[in-house]
């Protein structure tokens, strides 16, 4: 093979997938997810602790000497795929992906073992819509070790024990671990990934990185986040496709199963082609992230652009092809639709990723 990472799951990865799927099926089926998101505290701390303890899901790419599982972003992507299928409300993206990537890149070793073990949840304090390549945030300022400012729409903020806060001080950008902060929950489009607005009022923090290292750690986290999110989107799309196929086999109208109508068969077959394409891109992005392949930035941009749209398409088809049922509160289609649409915006819209790609592969809009 010409430098391609394996795009297939190894036996170990397959086993991890099965373990995670079993756990999530037992603990976080969609009806319990729906009950939970209507409760005051939506986070499913028990499931998160169990996943962390049984599969190391809180710190898969973290080396064993730092308390992690000593695996890689490939295994992280496997878990993301399964979480995309289940929509369990756990702070995986915020803590095990975004914050972990930033801490790893910054060479942090105090907080990381606690995060990797699932004992504490760390969350990267940026709006969930922040994209790789965006400029360093300026919403929080730092003087000495006191941070002041407000960060809106932070994913998983409500579950955070510690925030990783990008801040601007007299010496430029830096990254801080902060334990004293206030979170105002937002009413989020995606009920299964709650957002919160974070307020820092002179909170004291511990500096994790400064200058170029802080900028690089943040960029790395956003890149990893977008790449792993593609696997979550893939899992969601697969779930929507499978659920819709099953429904069209059992639902009869005009004396025939709906799935025997060619207009509907072709829509599902076309969706299957799109999901097939999405799967390859998500696996390629995870493989590149795991080995820090020089093609990683391209792989992530392609996966993010493709998987974002495929997840939305799959969820929209799921709603439409379920007819009236798909529009009810009592069917999971709306949960998938909300997650898919929010994921499309999270960590860069498809168009942002295509714009990044235009630079990466030298296809500029301007005269160059």
């Amino acid at each position: 093979m010409t430098g391609f990472p394996s795009l297939l799951h190894s036996d170990d990865e397959q086993q991890l997938r099965e373990t995670v799927r079993r756990q999530l099926a037992a603990r976080a089926d969609w009806s319990s997810v729906l009950r939970r998101v209507e409760a005051d505290d939506p986070y499913d701390a028990d499931t998160w602790r169990t996943l962390a303890a049984q599969t190391g899901a809180a710190g898969l790419p973290v080396p064993e000497e730092l308390g992690g599982a000593g695996a890689s972003w490939r295994e992280t992507a496997v878990v993301a795929e399964e979480l995309g299928r289940s929509l369990a409300v756990v702070p995986f993206l915020g803590s095990a992906v975004l914050a972990t990537a930033a801490l790893l890149h910054a060479g942090e070793s105090e907080l990381l073992p606690q995060v990797a073990g699932g004992e504490r949840t760390a969350v990267l304090a940026v709006p969930l819509s922040t994209w790789p390549g965006s400029s360093f945030p300026t919403s929080v300022s730092v003087e000495g070790d006191a941070l002041t400012g407000r960060v809106t729409s932070v994913g998983d903020a409500g579950a955070a024990d510690v925030l990783l806060v990008p801040a601007i001080g007299p010496d430029g950008p830096s990254l801080w671990a902060v334990e004293a902060f206030e979170v105002t929950p937002r009413t989020s489009l995606d009920m299964t990934r709650p957002l919160g607005d974070v307020t820092l009022s002179g909170s004291s923090g511990r500096r994790v990185a400064e200058g170029a290292a802080a900028e690089a750690a943040l960029q790395h986290a956003l890149m990893v986040g977008a790449g792993i999110l593609a696997s979550e989107q893939l899992g969601l799309a697969e779930q929507c496709l499978e659920t819709t196929i099953a429904y069209l086999k059992e639902r009869y109208q005009f004396g025939r199963p709906l799935g025997s109508y060619q207009a509907l068969k072709h829509r599902l077959a076309s969706l299957w082609v799109e999901v097939t394409r999405a799967r390859a891109t998500a696996r390629y992005a995870a493989g590149c992230l795991a080995t820090q392949d020089p093609d990683t930035a391209v792989a992530v941009a392609v996966a993010a652009a493709i998987c974002s749209d495929v997840a939305v398409l799959a969820a929209e088809e799921c709603v439409q092809l379920h007819g009236g049922l798909g529009f009810t509160w009592e069917h999971p289609a709306h949960l998938w639709l909300k997650r898919a649409k929010a994921d499309q915006i999270a960590l860069g819209t498809p168009d942002r990723h295509r714009a990044a790609l235009a630079d990466l592969v030298d296809l500029p809009l301007g005269a160059g």
């Binding site: 795009l7 077959a269 390859a280 891109t281 390629y284 235009a358 005269a367």
Partner: protein, 405 residues
Amino acid sequence: MTTTGPRTPAAADPTTADLLDRVQSLLASHPPAEVDRLDFLRARFDAGLAWVGYPVGLGGLGIPRELQAVVDAALAAAGAPDNSPRSIGIGLGMAAPTILAHGSDEQKQRWLRPLWTGEEVWCQLFSEPGAGSDLAALGTRAVRDGDEWVVNGQKVWTSMAHEARWGILVTRTDPDVPKHAGMTYFGCDMHVPGVDVRPLRQATGEAEFNEVFLTDVRLPDTDRIGEVGNGWRVATGTLMNERVAIGGQSAPREGGMLGMVTSVWRERPELRTPGLHSELMEQWVRAEASRITGERLRQQMAAGTPGPEGSAAKLMFSELNQRLSGLLLELLGEQGLAYDDWTMRRPKEVHFHGNRPGYSYLRAKGNSIEGGTTEILLNIVAERVLGLPGEMRVDKDVPWKDLPR
């Protein structure tokens, strides 16, 4: 020679070493610089180095076909001639596997060697004016007459018929049974009386294909492939090979049609507009994603676990080729108004992505029709991959002769 178990080419592999020995002794006995091309190709076939996955005595060694790459690389490095596989694709990709699977020993001995060397070109006599997607409805009649069959009918979309010595031919031998049951498969000698080949001019202006009129053509029963009435099963196997051949192509990043668009984009900044840039990047991403999908398919096949993803490959390819070739004409603007040549010609080889933008756009329209239309492929995905119910059939238990047409 070991023939069991999956093997991959590797220098330390005893099979690979043995294979390279065989290549060396072929090169020693038939130095490419000194012997005639055809003599070399025949000797290569007789040495079992033509297609190593084929049985001993039929151009192969009965070893895994992946090892062919070792032979091809070694022979190419020595400057040996090849059998111009691009111009005999139907014989290599469709006729040969069919003959191997269903032919008699005499047929294999008679047909495979000149097929592989290219001495005898093969064509495919399947589609008819009244039987396209519904191939099993075909009506070309073959009637038995002693040791011979008398064939009457018309075939269409036959590439290479004007160069071919042989054709793989499906006929109707029993009109009184339902359509799938009454068919019989032949190797058809294209040089016998009654075979009339006429060019079929296509939208691009040239004629890659032909119509073939068969009038009282007499074929010996010894050229029948498979049992009488078993033609549909034989033909289905042939078509599976066609889909593999079309869907199995791999390309480097920005290969094929995308490469034509990106090179114009980079070289001609004055043509760029925001809308075209959006479309370009959208198609770039889809093309790259399809390329990675192809790589994943290859990894699955190498691991011995081919998935249904192969069915997706052709759907992706035809859609991309059409969108990108259309985008290129729009990008070129004034230049896109021109066409290079409408003269009726007979191309020797077909290059979808040659430097002829207008031609590429028009030729791409055939991609979603040839080798199974997009609509038929979507049916196949829906039924065989997703397990959705089959189409309602009104022709299943009806004798062929009573079908409406």
